[in-house]
Amino acid sequence: MKLQIKHTISYSEADQIIERYYEGLTTVLEEKLLREFLSQRNLPERFEPEKAIFGYFANKKQKSVFSIHSFVRWASAAVLIITVISVELFSLKTEKNYAYINGKKITDIELVRSFAENSFKDISDDASVNETYNLDSKEIIKQQLGAFSE
């Protein structure tokens, strides 16, 4: 069995703090002690107004803390989603690059380059195409293969 020992202030201590509270002299810590004291059940009648007042403020405080908590909860969910997405993207990017040439999957960049250069050669031999589009075949191949090696 677990024993819960809770330190609370005595009635006379509470009376003293309450008096100081109404003079605006209590610290945040003293008010916390008083709040704990007033949250007890079966207190004498004379503490009723303070019980209600402190209960009211505690309730207001909880609401503002709750909104911070729910913000943290939403934020952590958002962080999780972002993490999952970025891991996915990262693994996609690092997946080995390949090209299909004549129905065959080829992952060797050099092989792909030589195939590409050959097929460009066929086109650029045609002078009219070259003039119209001003093709620089080497540059185009380099651009296209840029993503390949990473």
Binding site: Y22, G24, Y56
Partner: protein, 166 residues
Amino acid sequence: MSQERFKAEILPIRDKLFHIAHKILVEEEEAEDAVQEVLLKLWRNCNSFEKYESLAAFATTVIKNHCLDRLKVKCRSELLDETHYSRAGTDNPYLQLERKNSEEVLKEIIEKLPELQKAIIRMKDIEEYEVEEIAEITGTKLEAVRMNLSRARKKVRDEYIKLTST
């Protein structure tokens, strides 16, 4: 960051703000309350400071408008007969029926506190500022904050007892 701007740009012109308030409201004590109210209001809205290039100019506008509003409210309440209020009283059975629990009663009491007292009790009892911090923000002495806090708390207690005792 914005709190630093508050301290660097608004607190130094406190005297100027007081001067404006004094001119509009005439009474010194009222002007002082108005300045503190505006400073607390500005402090609470620190986050929107980015919009304003000159905080001093912004604060000057706010104090002017605030004092003019105060003046309007004052004129209006002076027009109403005081005895009218006391006759309506708090022991009206319809009003009692409306008040379902102590929470509503307290909410109502706090709402009716003077603006400055309301702001101070909220900062101290809900947002847990120390009196020293509030004094720094309002540019006043500790005693002044304590006095307003004490008045607000006593008023809440007295009104609560009055409204809940049958």
